[in-house]
């Protein structure tokens, strides 16, 4: 039995897939930035000692983390349509993926904040430093070392899960693959190319994030940390 590779199908499909890849990158970048920006307040709310802040956020995060992204995408796209909000498939895709990213990033951010020794918070509080300066200038910069490796994994997860957006016709790479297969009837060649392109994208992200990871690993990370009360339970909000 011979396996034949249809090079015409490759040549036909490649530009369409490349266009889809660009969209995948744009959608994932948007979701990553939105998810990171929104993940910080969500993490802080979850660390709050006020249950009015904490409980809604816990519900949101657990709901997003414990259900398949595919289902979430359907609910957002068709659910909003039922409510009379008709979103462009791309906008709906970015929205769904951003919500998903927010929930996942917020948990990594929360873990990174908790990994900063308690004494670091206390020193800042004892000096009268306000909450947002404390978080923004004292705690988050220190937690980057813990945060970046976790975020790398989650960004890769987002890239892979973004393929599910084809079900709501967001024009990303998996959607493009369906179009190509519909024209060429060559699913194996097409999806092989798709796999290679996803792999190239995630590998690029891993390489880039390694560079980011090295950046905060300056001199203060190399030495031993001052302090004996490492990783005691803390309350972050004041």
């Amino acid at each position: 039995m011979r396996v034949s590779i249809d090079t015409d199908a490759l040549a036909f499909g490649f530009p369409i897939l490349l266009h889809g890849l660009v969209n995948t990158i744009l959608v994932c970048c948007a979701a990553t930035f939105i998810g990171f920006a929104a993940g910080i307040p969500v993490a802080l709310a979850r660390l709050s000692r006020w249950s009015m802040m904490r409980l809604p956020v816990v519900a949101f995060v657990e709901l997003m983390r414990d259900t398949p992204f595919l289902v979430q995408a359907f609910i957002i796209y068709f659910g909003l349509a039922e409510l009379g909000i008709r979103l462009d498939a791309t906008v709906a895709g970015v929205l769904a993926l951003s919500l998903y990213a927010t929930a996942n990033f917020s948990e990594s951010i929360r873990g990174a904040i908790l990994s900063v020794p308690k004494g670091q918070f206390e020193a800042a509080r004892a000096l009268g430093i306000r909450y947002f300066s404390l978080i923004g200038r004292i705690i988050l910069p220190q937690s980057l070392g813990y945060l970046v490796p976790a975020l790398t994994n989650q960004i890769i997860g987002i890239i892979k899960d973004s393929a599910a957006l084809s079900v709501i016709t967001t024009p990303e790479m998996s959607m493009a693959a369906q179009v190509v297969v519909g024209e060429s009837f060559r699913p194996v060649e097409t999806y092989a190319m798709v796999a290679v392109l996803y792999w190239a994208l995630t590998t690029t992200v891993v390489t880039l994030m390694r560079q980011v990871e090295r950046a905060p690993r300056r001199i203060w990370r190399s030495g031993e940390r001052a302090g004996v009360d490492h990783r005691l339970p803390i309350e972050v909000s004041e």
Binding site: L127, R218, A226
Partner: protein, 256 residues
């Protein structure tokens, strides 16, 4: 200001429990300008908690803390009067056993951070104050270093300078030499003695009895959440009034 005898710090009926067990029990005292109080006692006697309740890092369950007549009452839970507590802290310097310098900032940045961010001091002025203080603790040449590049003794001297950069009314020291190698203890105590000579009002939780005897005006001997003795230092070391204090001293002297 008007009354020279008005205390800087007044602690009234301070009580604190952790998980149902009382750590501080109805503690009251006054501290006047320039007084140096050393707080000694066995571990678990509530010494550190007392300091931490004064600047509200551990919010007291009951009682009040007044600094220059401005009171913060306990028992309201955390965050109920956040801005009042923050203002209180601006005037109270705290030095921790574990230094707690910020490792991602240089020594100079550690000193400038709170004056600039919490007190609104201009950067140029904060830098000048910081450099002067680093000179005072003998570390002017280390302003560009990161904390992990310094010895424990140097880190603690930076931490003292960081607290002083806020120009506090009173300084709290929570076992400042307990996590230091023995040969590094002296340089920190010397800085503290210098502060005492300059008239800083200080509350020092310490196990360094010689320091307490040399520098302390008053000794608080604490046990089980109470101040059992509040005695002038010479008298305390000559003839402690309580049996518990004599026993504590005898044990310590027996060890050394």
């Amino acid at each position: 200001m008007s009354d020279a005898r008005a205390p800087i710090l007044r602690v009234e009926r301070l009580s604190k429990s952790f998980a149902g067990s009382a750590v501080l029990h109805d503690v009251s005292f006054d501290v006047h300008q320039g007084e140096r109080i050393c707080i000694i006692g066995p571990s678990g006697s509530g010494k550190s908690t007392l300091l931490r309740c004064i600047n509200q890092l551990d919010p007291p369950d009951f009682g009040s803390v007044s600094l220059d007549g401005v009171a913060v009452a306990g028992g309201h839970g955390r965050g109920s009067n956040g801005e009042t507590i923050r203002r209180l802290r601006l005037s109270i310097g705290m030095v921790f056993q574990s230094f707690n310098l910020w490792p991602h900032m240089t020594v100079l940045q550690n000193l400038m951070e709170a004056p600039v961010r919490a007190k609104g001091v201009g950067k140029a002025e904060a830098r000048q104050i910081s450099i002067d203080l680093l000179r005072r603790v003998g570390l002017a040449d280390k302003h560009g270093a990161y904390p992990t590049q310094l010895s424990g003794g140097q880190q603690q001297r930076v931490a003292i300078a960081r607290a002083l950069a806020m120009n506090p009314r009173i300084m709290l020291f929570d076992e400042p030499t307990s996590s230091l190698d023995p040969e590094l203890v002296r340089e920190v105590l010397d800085v503290m003695k210098g502060l005492a000579r300059d008239g800083m009002t200080m509350l020092v939780v310490t196990h360094e009895l010689r320091f307490a005897a040399d520098v302390g005006d008053r000794i608080f001997f604490m046990d089980r959440g109470r101040i059992l003795e509040d005695t002038p230092a010479p008298r305390f070391f000559a003839e402690p009034t309580t049996g518990r204090a004599s026993q504590f001293l005898a044990n310590l002297i027996g060890v050394t």
